[in-house]
């Protein structure tokens, strides 16, 4: 059992590396920033689903994956035209991208913001409106303790332990990366949802927390926007229209701008 102590050390180092890299990747997390946007250089837009994975389907045959790509491309153009940072898409055509790869793209590019674009689906045909999600931890006792430990000991660990670039460690790191950014993600969700509500004229379903896989591994403020319900025939037709897609992109962009101007 020669590997045992090494394993244990590795696990300890993983936790520490998780912290360290998570803190390093997202410079906006600093308490004393003048504005949230100060040091963001790259943002990642994630058009939900793609390829074999269609996402939700509408009665008229529209697919979530196509709507999300259309909105994301419009949002990318808006941000690039008006904001000073690079925009990376997790996909720019109709291809499969695994959840891991989506968050890996954000983390590898040192993204300071992550926005996943979706269109909603419900069993109830009447369900309608827009909503914005950020991650809920669905925290078990163990996770709560781990999170409390992370919050209390981050600076001490950061100064003591050298991060390793081991792939396994990086996986462990990313599995819990979002936990450090929950608060900012909540603020971002609030700003974006406010603009969606103002611009779309659809029902405002508010901001919610959910254990969405796509958000768990992202090491920066991250939200998932549900523009409207593709399962609702009326909203499906809106979602399929270029005009509505542009409005959604504009609303997200405005929410983003408001978030970036926020102090702290």
């Amino acid at each position: 059992m020669r590997s045992d102590p090494i394993d244990r050390t590795a696990r300890g180092a993983a936790l520490a590396a998780a912290l360290l890299v998570a803190l390093a990747v997202c410079p906006v997390s600093g308490q004393a920033q003048a504005g949230q946007g100060q040091r963001i250089q790259t943002m990642v837009i994630d058009p939900g689903h793609g390829g074999m994975e269609t996402g939700a389907k509408g009665k008229f045959g529209n697919l979530e994956k196509d709507i999300t790509l259309a909105i994301s491309l419009k949002l990318k153009a808006l941000v690039e035209r008006n904001m000073g940072f690079e925009v990376v898409l997790t996909r720019d055509k109709d291809v499969d991208v695994s959840v891991e790869n989506r968050s890996a793209i954000a983390n590898n590019r040192k993204a300071g913001l992550f926005i996943s674009v979706h269109s909603n689906g419900a069993v109830q045909k009447k369900a309608a409106g827009s909503e914005t999600f950020f991650l809920s931890l669905n925290a078990t006792d163990e996770e709560t303790r781990r999170l409390a430990y992370l919050e209390n000991n981050s600076s001490a660990l950061q100064s003591r332990i050298d991060p390793s670039s081991d792939d396994d460690l990086m996986m462990i790191l990313w599995d819990m990366a979002q936990t450090a950014y929950i608060k900012q993600s909540g603020q971002l969700a609030e700003m974006v949802q406010g603009e969606l509500d103002a611009l779309l004229g659809t029902r405002n379903r508010g901001i919610k927390q959910a254990p969405f896989k796509i958000l768990t591994g992202v090491a920066c403020p991250a939200i998932l926007v549900e523009a409207a319900f593709i399962s609702n025939p009326e909203e499906e037709q809106k979602l399929a229209s270029e005009e509505f897609q542009s409005k959604v992109a504009e609303a997200i962009y405005r929410g983003l701008a408001r978030y970036l101007r926020m102090p702290e």
Binding site: E53, S119, Q124, A127, N138
Partner: protein
């Protein structure tokens, strides 16, 4: 050779002593050493189940199943009897099969009707592991709201009706799956969320 001679003439007390120590060690290993499932199964199979109708034969247990209503976003409870016993695992399997079968009133099941419950196993640690057939992921094109409803209908139904269940893990076709349809993270155990239930 000297060893052989010694071994051929041991005192009976020593043999008994040695045997009892071996037995003790085996018992300890059985109950503590990694055999959680075995122990849980053993306990499950041997504990008397609380009969729903005061110990009468062919007892039933009343369960509350969580469905959707067309008019709001909440889960709504609907009660119905299922056959009781012999184990909580089997009762849980029956409850989920009823959930999939759907409402007897006007409510809607959030799970694909083709879905089969392959197995439910309630561990001693309070984690119920549910294994669905692949239909649960393949027969619906889930949106976020739909997927949340499907997951929490299952989680809440189990946690609400079976006291031993504290958390729920969902497997598909015997294996861990990231999500049912690209949204809700299935790789972690779920705690019940009754805020999704209508008051």
């Amino acid at each position: 050779m000297a060893n052989n001679k010694k071994a051929k003439k041991p005192k009976p007390v020593l043999i008994l002593g040695a045997l009892s120590i071996v037995l003790l060690v085996l018992v300890i290993i059985f109950f503590t050493g990694g055999g959680r499932e075995k122990v849980a199964r053993f306990i499950d199979a041997n504990l008397p189940k609380t009969p729903a109708a005061a110990g009468e034969p062919a007892a039933t247990k009343t369960v509350t199943l969580f469905f959707l209503d067309d008019d709001d976003d909440f889960l709504h409870g609907e009660t119905r009897p299922i056959a009781a016993g012999p184990t909580a695992n089997e009762e849980a399997e029956r409850a989920l099969a009823e959930l999939i079968k759907g409402s007897e009133g006007s409510l809607v099941s959030p799970l694909p009707p083709q879905t089969k419950v392959r197995q439910v196993f309630i561990g001693k640690d309070g984690v119920a592991t549910v294994d669905f057939s692949r239909d649960v992921a393949e027969k619906f094109a889930y949106g976020s709201t739909m997927e949340l409803a499907a997951v929490y209908a299952v989680v809440n139904t189990l946690a609400f009706n079976f006291k031993a269940v504290k958390k729920v893990v969902i497997l598909v076709e015997g294996a861990e799956k990231e999500t049912l349809g690209g949204h809700v993270d299935l790789t972690r155990a779920f705690l019940p969320d009754y805020s999704l239930v209508a008051r």
